[in-house]
Point group: D2
Chain length 479, copies 4
């Protein structure tokens, strides 16, 4: 199968170029300059390539040709609080594809007392044969022990080169400082990057209990109880442990100005600390958690932050100047009916998580590029190139270049559409952005040379997505 | 003329790819994946392109194919202290080419009381017909007045979209804070970026006079008198003026930790402050200014900093994490004999400036990439892509991509050679790095499709270099 | 004349004590514990002292006995913009006394081109024979030259051990960085502390001119034009010069958060930087400058700051923790009628300055102690002890202790009264706090053993105030 | 008993005065100015007082009269690692007296699972009838539970208004973040200040185990294993918890620059965070832990810090500018023979603690005042006034003032003597400062009106020291 994308503007993380893109099989095989005001010379080259014949020619006039999005943070089918995140690898990856995302990195979970391998095997089984786009895994470690520490090396060898630990969720996922520190020491040797959910869960639980005891049972108190300062504290703690261990560290879903300040200070002194944020922290706020139990739709951790605290501004500043590295979604959808409702009258029982894998690329385009905050190139870097670089997929993924996987999106930067549960493809009964109009949309989505979405129609197939063995994060150690 | 560069590793600012590069005329027209372990598919595309025939096929096996270097800061033929920087646009640009640099951005100087246009015309005349590689200009403003402020707009229109001001050199180039502030306000409107030499020259002159009066006349006292804190102070002052004016600002030749700290703090709060440093501040230090009058070879401003002050470490940290944006040389060579000697017995009379245009690319490769501090991609970003982006030349320059100018270097990352005045091509009688062995060298240098250096031989021609009209720094305002 | 103050609570900077205070002549000669729950032993001591007989016994039951206030910053009869600050040393010092202040430190002004001595002599003549309380002088230097630098030493010898320089008022008082730096170097040797008015006057004048040209002529634009960042910038610049000179520095009338942040950072790294603020920056804001030309009543420099910028909070934090050292008033009153009115239609012509010498002690009590921000001891430190310590008057002034000058105030911490031009004693036709009720007032004011105010009646005499020769600021160098 | 101290210079935290001090019973009853150059007027007052007759007249000509030292941090008879700190309340308080200290605040320890009251009762019994000077207690909480939280209020009511918690010593004293946070919330209400030993003991134990496993068993590895960054981290964590709880916090024995930086930043933003340091961190360093097992003499926690890390400079800067509040000793002596030796071959078993209660006042005079770092007044503030203010003993203690307890030291600022185990009065077989000559010594020590040390002879009596009920730290909340 040979595809030629003509007349588009190719946008990579390092800028734009006017070039046609030739795909052959699952790879991009050539980028060719078009005849133009200043480059009549390329005529022959283009002609030669065209002469090869293409099975499909896509006219991208007025469109952008970008690398497929990479969502570095999803939780398909995650068990949480007695239920499961609603999207399966099939439904979730299909929704991702509609949204211009061609790779997800999900989280395999080690169950307490079990081996890492068992956790990985379980998640491999969930995804294999179901995902419609390529996928990879991070590994959530529930125990850091003399058994699991050496096992980390073997997990890295299997292409799962990052491990997530938590300072939150005492009794469930929380690792104490010794566990974090030891895992960091090990990761420095095996190249497995440590990812952190940084909130002081122990202190949070005190406030949660106090609020609940005081009769404050609405979803809003989920947000109120998890102070921004608790994220800032845990972020600093983890950074200091990383400095002591001489290891890099990556923070997932950074949400609070308190944490951004700490991150910036660490980076200024040369610490290899990195972070992502998620669209919900850029576009939603604590007020969304109000409105009675409706707010449960917006319950996630860390919580949406108060509009008045300067949190969103801090996140944008960090995104623009480079201290925030990428955009994941923490996609973890629960239906309002039947799932979120488990926490009626007790915000502690609301499953934590929001849907978002489908909306990430467009939200960042609309709120970032259209709003004038970032350039198109920086947008591509945040949604695709940097996730690939940070997590050992680059330059196979994350770039439109000769030799890269043919994960390519023809993106219309002008098309407007409305986000809604009525039209989205995620398997969840509400949208966090219901009714919001965004500018920008993925017209054609190509996954390893196969057109899987075109003009709103799905042509992909469950099981076509492959597991990606990721390299270790060596560049993180060098840069 | 059609050139095919085969079997090399293309390295751009955003990473590496295995691809062949086809040049036709003065443009890169295609990048084509090679058949390989994972991409047999590209066979036909490559074959088709090859079938076009190439006038010259360069085998880059084991080599890197990088965009030609861009030295954003040179001073060819600059008048200073009664003499002139020794390199002409011809000798200097040829030396640049030997060092893998295919574009220089020099500084046209407004004479006090004259129009900007006269200054620009003078420098245009110096370069035209002489440069062997492409060149552009920044504009040094000696007066900021009701006449020159509106004239800035017209200079921008001519493709000179940056203006350099000084807080140093009282009575010569120094602009007071009103001048700087007004120029910033104007630049915010016309898109002309303000470049700053930030040292508190007024305070420095007090110390200079005191040292001279105390009989401290050696070159070493040039370095001693210009306190690092005076650079830090001026940097902060200029940043605050930029914040007040709502304009971005770019610092040339940042050298002191004091300034880096200020820059980082500004960027953390979202200020659009940018900076370059130069190889001499990364690889040389105050001790080089000792050794009697020999030290005059190392007299430049800002001066080389004490080894003990953490200055180099601060610069590297900033380079690695992104707070320093690019590498220029401030190339401004004076012969030791006859020129530097003007300051025997009076360090105040030593012409300020060092040679360096030829050594920049290799020094940064050796001290950056080989030393394990930065990746090859970051190296390319610092020496080529970022100078192009910051100064309105991107993506015409600074990237190996279809459609870009065919300014391409085939770089050998393993070849070792020794820097020396005996072998360098700059027209100056000493080298700041005499005897230093560096790893990495430019084997083939192509300027707009013409091979001008190959295996140490020069094939270029004076006058082949063209003046580049630069775009305004719009992205700086957005990012 | 012997006075016994009985039954009061003595409050010094280091805390409170229950003791009677015996004054003999112009000195405090003893503090004696009273018989009480825990100290029957003191009965005899008290009895013995009482047996000496007192010409006047003041019952301070329920009152505080504090050292007389020291206003370290006043401008009596200052020439400014073609007129003079309205209060003479007589009227101004009398108003000060009513407000519980028994010492002022005013500013003698060197006229450009004249000697420091001439300036000092002029101001000595203005005060001598007229002041009703003790007074001292700082010296404003309009020129820093080879003549005035050595003259500084002789001024210090005369008990004028501090010199004020300006980065504001170009063409009038502004010193350039060389002047400031040289004066600091000299002061480090002669013990004369450098005081700074830190605003970037050169940049301010650009904005002033632009606002005026745009037709913004109201007093409000005085405030708008003098950006807080310009105070922050100048403060940092001066601190860096002080660090380079190895000299301490004291900032007068600090008003902007931008400056406070810079001050705190400097102090954190061990720089001997100190500052005062004034009541107007704690209790008034930019909005007071609105309301048409009424705002002229509030025109001073630095200007009142926007309520929204966090300026007052920053000042209070610094006051509470110790980074702001004392409270002066910058008392410099101009009548609204006839004086402020000089600037109708042109805010640039409004004389700069506010009345305040009378209200300082009470405002700081009301807004500081009563509001729960500071302890009574800290209040005394700010209004009396610290000004005395910083400016070489301690322990002669600034403390209620045996051996100190008998400058004592019996203060009623509960008495409420209303500030108003109708009732104040300053010679100016308006009050900045018109109608504001404050809690706390000076019932009895004693100046060197003479009761000069009692229950609202004045018993002092012009000329009873003496010139105070101040010691050099040696402790500032040690602490 | 009436004592008159004549001709001395009284030094309090707020400065010096020339005054005679009259003591009657256990109180200071009067300070009286002496006739002199400027105060002949006091003749009669002095004469009247003298006429009362004094049982003892002490001539303090050339000496300083200061408030008795207050050591806010001692551990007499502390059980640790299977042994007990060697000094009893009798021997330890006698040694304190010889060193010019007239009050100690020791730590009562709650045993895990027992009530706070039992712990307090135990320590009350240890001290009562044995101490030769006055004493008070902090309370160490080993459990923070629903039982002990309300019990805190009752402990405060008994005059024990501070509670110490640890982030160090996992399994022994360590409190988790929930415990610390809840105790802070309670303390905010009952006025009991939380004291913290802030080191991340959980991370430290990982490094300790790794070092021990690697065969690094010498005392030196005690110091090496407890990274400075672990103190910095814990300090930040605790401060953030305090901010979340809205409570003040006090750090004991701050030792690392990392912690000082965090403290300064917190104070700059207005947080009520306070700290002490100890002489050992100012005058000793990690190298003292070397020299084989001899280093065990210097084993304490936090450990002595590396000389090269800027730690001592940071502590001095903070002491000078006010961010460190007082000086305690953490006096906790163990004999080298028989006690420190428990850890031969295993540094983990060396009892933690150093002797120091006797040397504090002189070391701070010698290294602070004589060395020119601080003024005599600041010295008195650090060793006496501030401990009294912070811990609810002021103005009964900590000041030479009419009405205060007659805890007075006649101090010779010129006398030199040599610190040595041969001559000291602490019951421990070595000195950390063996052979160090210091300038300054306590000639006469008066405890509540009784002369207990005079010219090196002891006149005190076990049991004369009284338990001091301390007030709550209300001022800490206000300042």
């Amino acid at each position: 199968m040979r595809i030629l994308i003509k007349n588009g503007t190719v946008i990579n993380a390092n800028g734009r170029q006017q070039a046609d893109v030739l795909i052959d099989g699952d790879k991009i095989v050539a980028l060719v300059a078009r005849p133009g005001d200043d480059a009549g010379v390329s005529d022959k080259a283009g002609a030669a390539l065209l002469a090869l014949g293409a099975d499909e020619v896509i006219d991208a006039t007025g469109k952008w040709v970008i690398p497929g999005g990479i969502d570095e943070h999803t939780h398909m089918e995650l068990p949480f609080g007695g239920t499961f995140a609603k999207d399966t690898f099939e439904t979730g990856s299909r929704a991702a594809a509609f949204g211009g995302t061609t790779t997800i990195i999900d989280f395999a979970v080690q169950s307490k007392g079990k081996s890492l391998q068992e956790g990985l095997d379980t998640w491999m089984a969930k995804a294999e044969g179901h995902a419609v786009i390529d996928y990879a895994f991070h590994m959530i470690m529930s125990d850091v022990t003399d058994e699991t520490l050496p096992e980390m090396d073997r997990i890295v060898d299997q292409g799962v080169s990052s491990f997530k630990l938590f300072t939150a969720y005492p009794g469930v996922f929380l690792s104490d400082d010794a566990a974090i520190f030891r895992a960091m020491q090990r990761s420095e040797k095996n190249g497995g990057l440590i990812l952190m959910h940084a909130e002081n869960g122990i202190a949070i639980d005190v406030v949660v209990a106090q609020n609940f005891a005081a009769g404050n049972t609405d979803p809003y108190y989920h947000g109120v109880s998890r102070y921004p300062v608790f994220e800032g504290e845990a972020t600093n703690r983890v950074i200091r442990l990383a400095e002591a261990a001489g290891a890099p560290v990556f923070f997932v879903h950074m949400s609070a100005k308190d944490a951004v300040d700490v991150l910036m200070a660490a980076r200024d002194r040369g610490t290899k600390a990195f972070a992502e944020t998620c669209p919900q922290y850029l576009f939603l706020d604590l007020a969304d958690l109000g409105n009675g139990f409706e707010g449960s739709k917006f319950v996630c951790s860390p919580p949406l932050r108060p509009a008045s605290g300067g949190h969103q501004q801090a996140l944008w500043t960090a995104l623009i100047k480079g201290d925030l590295y990428g955009i994941g979604t923490d996609h973890c959808p629960f239906d309002f009916e039947g799932q979120k409702e488990l926490g009626r009258g007790d915000f502690r029982k609301i499953p934590n998580g929001l849907p978002g894998v489908e909306e990430r690329v467009d939200l960042m385009h609309d709120g970032g590029v259209v709003a004038g905050r970032i350039t198109p190139a920086r947008w591509v870097e945040l949604i695709s190139a940097n996730p690939a670089r940070m997590f050992g997929l680059y330059p196979r993924k994350g770039v439109v270049a000769a030799g890269a996987d043919a994960d390519v999106v023809v993106y219309d930067p002008n098309r407007k559409h409305v986000l809604s549960a009525k039209t989205h493809h995620m398997d969840v009964d509400y949208s966090c952005y219901e009714g919001r109009e965004v500018q920008g949309g993925s017209d054609v989505v190509i996954s390893r040379g196969r057109i899987i979405v075109k003009d709103g129609e799905f042509f992909g197939k469950a099981g076509d997505g492959e597991f990606l063995k990721r390299e270790t994060a060596h560049w993180v150690r060098k840069n």
